[in-house]
Subunit: 414 residues, 2 copies
């Protein structure tokens, strides 16, 4: 079975905005054993959307339209589908009554236009929207001699995702041949993409039945494995075998095999060891703290720390001696170690992190070029400190430096 995902909305045909719902939906369809064959973006234009709808329903088994279900004049998905499929739109009176009621409850008059949200394709099932006002629609239809599924879903991601989970998954599952699908994601930190691929390609190419996607970016290389088999056990066994071989090759560069982010893994380890963390960041400017605190519940193991951007604050908050700064410069092994050791001590944390470097684009010298970063981690007994020279722009250098720091904390806790 193949699907097409159609994102409706002129804003996604500007240079500024992209359809992102289709990534979620593609994953959700793949999980049911359905491939996405086409993705289309079309604007709020009647003729163009009607044509695109006819094309989509004609060339796939499931056509999923996202967006254009709101109350404004630009919201023409319902009308265009009716025209494309040559079926009627009927106003659903129970939907309409519910809408009037919602407005009345807020002591507001419902604008005339809103009534179109109650228009339903003849024969379609209405899908309630628990997070917004535009209901979705599910239509089973014969088109050009074959049965197809046409789905109308709201555009806002949180509405679409909730409607998919509550109203669509089981309905779609009932339509597809049962397939057992197993997946696994291995995440590694700090491996260069080319090296990661060179080391693993000879392994995963031995398993042509397992679809392996290698994704690289921001100091992380991920291996996404997926396979189908008659039973879930067989599928899982196949995926696990390949995952095992990849882990053997990559060793402890693999930090997660269950989807967690590096900051989540660091959090797990800290909780497991009943340990706390404090950071002193210069060139990363708060990025490490921000990543750690992006994890819910991080207050259980993260105390905080200091963003010691100026030399004065390195001394003030992390007790780095001015003489040390003068002798070695702010970007030095000595300062990185002092930051890690002292912030740990001052905050009374179990583990301390210190980062200092040249994020650029200015400020580089021959001796200390842009991209040079020192990262230190200490647990009071042992210290770990590395020098790195990260390529790329400011954003990339800071991201890799934060990745380096988090990975060193992980390794110290391992």
């Amino acid at each position: 079975m193949i699907a097409e995902i159609i994102a409706v909305g002129s804003e996604m045909l500007t240079p500024y905005r992209q359809d992102t719902n289709s990534l979620f939906l593609t994953g959700a369809l793949n999980d049911l054993g359905i491939s996405v064959a086409f993705k289309t973006v079309v604007g709020d234009n009647r003729a163009q959307l009607t044509g695109a709808a006819r094309t989509a329903v004609g060339r796939t088994d499931i056509a999923i339209f996202m967006g254009g279900l709101g109350p404004t004049e630009d919201d023409v998905t319902r009308e265009c589908l009716a025209e494309a499929l040559e079926i009627e739109l009927k106003r659903d009176h129970s939907l309409l009554t519910a809408m009037y009621k919602r407005f009345a409850e807020r002591r507001m008059q419902m604008p005339e236009n809103n009534a179109q949200q109650a228009d339903v394709l003849s024969g379609a099932t209405v899908l309630p929207n628990s997070r917004g006002s535009a209901p979705g629609q599910w239509l089973d239809i014969e088109f050009e001699g074959r049965s197809r599924i046409v789905l109308l879903l709201p555009g806002p991601p949180h509405e679409l995702q909730e409607m998919w989970k509550l109203q669509c998954v089981e309905r779609v599952r009932a339509k597809v041949p049962p397939a057992a699908i197993a997946t696994c994601v291995l995440k590694t930190a700090l491996l260069p993409e080319s090296a990661a691929d060179a080391r693993t390609a000879p392994i995963y190419k031995k398993y042509p039945n397992i679809e392996t996607t290698v994704l690289a970016g921001q100091g992380q290389v991920e291996f996404h494995l997926r396979t189908t088999a008659p039973t879930l056990e067989e599928a899982q066994l196949a995926v696990d075998r390949l995952a095992g071989e990849l882990e053997d090759e990559l060793g402890d560069a693999v930090f997660s095999s269950a989807g967690e982010s590096l900051e989540e893994i660091v959090g797990y380890y800290l909780q497991m060891r009943n340990a706390t963390l404090a950071v002193a960041e210069s060139c990363t400017g708060g990025m490490i703290a921000e990543r750690i605190t992006s994890v819910a519940g991080s207050s259980r193991y993260f105390l905080g720390g200091a963003v010691v951007y100026s030399s004065e604050l390195k001394t003030l908050f992390a007790d780095v001696p001015p003489l040390m700064l003068e002798a070695h410069g702010a970007v030095s092994k000595e300062v990185a170690l002092a930051l890690a050791e002292n912030i740990r001590d001052i905050c009374n944390a179990d583990i301390g992190v210190g980062v200092t470097g040249v994020a650029g684009p200015g400020g580089g010298t021959e001796e200390k070029p842009v991209g040079l970063v020192w990262v230190a981690v200490s647990d009071g007994r042992k210290q770990d400190v590395v020098q790195r020279r990260f390529p790329g722009d400011r954003e990339r250098i800071r991201r890799w430096a934060s990745q380096q720091a988090l990975d060193m904390v992980r390794r110290m806790l391992m």
Copy 2:
């Protein structure tokens, strides 16, 4: 004139990867006065790509295919276009010779498959690729009674962009009626999307000739204006007039009319006033510092600060009295003000920022629910403090809180 952009490649039909070239191309086409009516993603599948090619060329004036021009078996764009348009593919011997030569120079044997990169649609112009081995193709063709342009471009972004600039822009420009295009982007902070649109729609709807796109997200609403006129002066005048009216309506909620981010604007103001900044962040966990230091050169005005995630660190780094924490709780007006005032004082900065709140999902109470955030800014003479209740998840609450803080700094400096 309308265009369709077709990205070819099965990897873009996975949940992990997206076509991004189309954003660049959309901007480039818009700059020439051409709208993008459709964007399509299709895999490396002969039947599907051939069908999609026929659809695309049939419904637009310019169809631009990206990718699938390489030397592997999966690279079928040339063949599929030939089949879709019912024209011949001819092997170009000068291209082929050049390819053999390149391989010979590297003392390598050219794999058989590579020869297909010399296949050219009958009647097409070959577009040299200065950054890779796959040449592009430009074809003027009559299709279904109308003249169309068909463009084949390589998929890697740096190859595509260079080929567009060197080989395509002028060729396309020669095909479209001359048009002068002016654009303007207004950015506002902290306006709710619905309010921003309600206030501005009556204004921008008076200018149907100016395309206005309203983009909202992460505490920011942006107005992208674009228009075409016979001369650049007229176009600029029209856009400036609408921008002026929008600025009058939105007042100082507009922080930028030249594309800058809020953190850049805060940086400009600080430099203009020769002032320095320090921050004490609790629930934002370093995000404000991270955003400020994402701007190159921020060390000129940003000293640093503290991530005071635990209560102890609020006292240790920002001198918040334990009695105050006990009496009012960490999430309180008093603590936000103390953080701002004290971090300013301790760091010897001109302006101090303090943020404390409940980012969730846990930790909320009836009195202090998830999303409650206090933000304070002080310049030592005047203080500004607000309480906000941000909706959404942890990420959204933290993002809006950082936006609130940066905007308050901007307003204090204005």
